[in-house]
Amino acid sequence: MMLSRVADNLFWTARYLERAADTVHLLDISYILDLDRQEGSQPQWEPLAWITGDIGLFRSLYGEATRDNVMHFLVIDDTYANSVSSCLGRARENAKGLREQIPQALWEEINRQWLDGEQFRSEQEFSPTRILRFCRDTHRNHTLILGLVNETMARGSAYHFWQLGTYLERADKISRVLHVKYFHLLPRLSDVGTIVDDAHWEALLQSLHAREDYHRLHGMVAPDKVIEFIVRCPVFSRSILFCLRNAEESLRSLPNLAAQLALSRIERLCARIEETSGAAIIAVGVHEFINQLQIEMNQVGEAITQSIFPPCPAGWSRLPAAEVVQ
């Protein structure tokens, strides 16, 4: 049993931290790959802004995408709500309201990560090297935070709301990366499904922490296999299915009936993903598949909000105590 407000805070703290970590990792990998880019090929900076879903805002603030302005937008722009520094700030504000709920060491790490970010921004020196170092530090901090969650939190509601936030955010981010990269990284649209530029697929895999596991399990790059791996590999810890299964597990562990709706939705979603092969996804169209996936993940998110804030029927506050005390 936990305060609705606290459950909501936990869910969002985890989401913001995951969002920041996913962004810094993506940026780090993209930067490294950009160094190898061949003459004449498309630079990858604008797609990074596409992945956030805030490309319109980016263009209105910065115009044409360059390496430096995309990095600035994604990492240090505090007028942009989903920048790394905004996410760390909001996570920390949320976590302040959780201090009696989460282990002290976890709060300290979240607080420290924010302090580091403030320190970095106050130094006002944003060379790519320094931004990248900050990205790597942030990513490492996040790994530490996840370690603390796993090693120090009791497996109660707080833990499960945290896991829900982390895995839903991650699944969402993976689907966006797959979506955007799939279209932007191929040199020409007519090449989709025909000529495969290995380097681009490698990049996609790498930005999702998937490269080594993919090669170990499937050997050479093949588009349908890569897509299948990212979407529904049951053992790869960053496949969409793996994330959703973890979220499902946490929903099942929540001791309340209100989670039922979210649970049934996520079960249905997982079942559908399991049935769909990589080839089938390409046949349907990656774009269509992911659009549908996002709609359904949003529906899971809405149902989770309902489980956090149980619905209030009319006259709810007048119920006799015996019926509401649990």
């Binding site: 049993m1 305060l3 009696e100 709060w107 607080n111 929540l254 149980p310 509401v324 005390v325």
Partner: protein
């Protein structure tokens, strides 16, 4: 680090009995500090400050544009008090708290003390802390002020005086517990050998005090205790969260609460859940907009209905602020005599009520020597320290004073005791006060040994409030000044 250049000055010093001569209770500590390699103490000080920042031990200063979060400066040199001396202070606090509780209960019932003239009626009638809606309330066991933080100061002769009684929502105990944690890391040997009285059991004693308040129908099971905070923007939010964690209680805000017609419940992911005891860190006036301030969003409409019906307990009970009034303060010695028939063990600071024309004139004429405080403020807001103020400030203050003399008291500017404090890498004397925390559990009263020592960091400053830039120190009540290997 050596202390040869340390100036004791014309003050009572908490550590030095005279230049170069230590009080017994500080000897072991200072010898240890003296034996540290150069720079070591400063290194520990820095490490402790970093630890505080990392832990997010912060305090909010209102009206500060710089940002709302800052750490309270922490000084690594503790203040030591001899165990025997402390026992006398403890006895005085118990007496005072017991008498004040009797007073609050009387004021909200028969008002015998007013009828008998020991406290003039106008004091209550004009007090902002007196809440008429609280008349007739019967808190469990007749205890109103479960948690009190009494401010003490020492004058030039070293005698402890009560400076203020804080009976509403006194804060600072979290710093006491954390300062101790840091000091244990820094000076483990001295701790052990000095038999410093432990304070780590405060949270469990607080929880016990709260459990005892639970409605009788909940005696069979573990009562549901919650800590009520105004929210993350409150200056003491850190402490609210810290205490909630320490006692394993949910930290709730007004918006988490709902009155279901009988009980006060919190909104949880499993629906409504009944609360039995609220440790409130929200002022009485904000607890229930149906009873008190109608514009409050910090409380829960209907809460007082449940309270009157005995279906929820509040600590402290609403209305305790009546004894927080600095005008009433002047009468506390009489209150002790009236209810207990005893002489007060802890003296007040001599206080003039500006309400009387004679005292008002005296205060105005001696504004450059006196400290003048508003009756209903806390945190050091709205007061003036005459000798430190500019003529312009004094003039402006005199205008306010004439407008509303009832609202002010004046006291001589005390030569507050000083304690060695690290300033720019050296030890210098800085003025300190002491806020011990007292738990009133009905049959027994617990006084936390020591308390929060606050330090006025700017040279010569007498204002120790953290809202005014004060710092803190750990406070050691020392039972074995000469050191021992085993506790007695």
């Amino acid at each position: 680090m050596d202390f040869r250049d340390y100036e004791v000055g014309d003050y009572f010093d908490e550590v030095f009995a005279a230049p170069g001569q230590l009080h017994g209770c500080a000897r072991l500590l200072m010898e240890t500090i003296a034996s540290l390699p150069p720079g070591d103490l400063l290194g520990r000080q820095k490490a402790s400050e970093r630890a505080m920042l990392g832990m997010g031990v912060t305090f909010t200063v209102y009206g500060d544009e710089q940002g709302t979060d800052r750490t309270i400066p922490f000084d690594i040199v503790p203040r030591t008090i001899d165990g025997g001396e402390w026992d006398a202070v403890e006895a005085g606090l118990r007496q005072r708290i017991r008498a004040i509780n009797r007073f609050i209960d009387d004021i909200y019932h028969d008002q015998r003390i007013l009828a008998d003239g020991a406290v003039p009626r106008w004091v209550i009638e004009t007090s902002r802390g007196f809440i008429p809606e609280c008349r007739g309330l019967d808190p469990p066991g007749g205890v109103w002020n479960h948690v009190t933080g009494t401010d003490l100061v020492r004058d030039r002769s070293g005698v402890f005086h009560v400076l203020e009684d804080n009976l509403r929502v006194p804060s600072g105990v979290s710093y006491v517990l954390l300062n101790r944690l840091l000091m244990k890391r820094n000076f483990p040997e001295v701790f052990h050998r000095n038999c410093v009285r432990p304070i780590a059991d405060y949270p469990s004693r607080l929880l016990d005090t709260l459990h005892r308040l639970a409605p009788a129908d909940r005696a069979e099971e573990t009562p549901c205790v919650a800590v009520l905070t105004p929210g993350v923007f409150n200056s003491a939010y850190f402490e609210h969260a810290f205490l909630a964690r320490q006692i394993g209680a949910p930290l709730v805000e007004g918006r988490d609460l709902v009155y279901d017609g009988r009980y006060v419940c919190m909104k949880t992911t499993g629906g409504l859940r009944r609360i039995d005891v609220i440790y409130r860190r929200v002022d009485s006036q904000f607890l229930d907009p149906e009873t008190f301030r109608t514009d409050s969003v910090l409380g829960c409409p209907g809460l007082m209905k449940a309270y009157r019906a005995g279906r929820i307990a509040l600590a402290n009970a609403p209305g305790t602020g009546v004894a927080d009034d600095k005008v009433l303060y002047a009468f506390v010695p009489d209150i002790v005599r009236y209810y207990l028939g005893e002489e007060p063990l802890l003296p007040n600071v001599p206080t003039r009520l500006c309400q009387s024309p004679e005292n008002l004139e005296y205060t105005l004429a001696h504004l450059d020597e006196l400290v003048v405080k508003p009756a209903n403020e806390s945190g050091g807001y709205g007061m003036i320290v005459g000798p430190k103020a500019t003529p312009g400030e004094r003039e402006a203050f005199a205008v306010k004073l004439r407008e509303n003399p009832r609202n002010y008291i004046s006291q001589p500017t005390l030569s507050l005791s000083r304690a060695p404090t690290i300033v720019d890498g050296c030890l210098e004397g800085r003025h300190v006060d002491l806020r011990p925390f007292v738990l009133h559990g009905g049959d027994d009263i617990y006084v936390l040994p020591g308390g929060l020592t606050r330090v006025a960091l700017p040279k010569g400053s007498l204002v120790v409030n953290s809202s005014q830039g004060g710092g803190t120190k750990d406070t050691w009540v020392v039972d074995c000044p000469n050191g021992t290997e085993a506790r007695p």
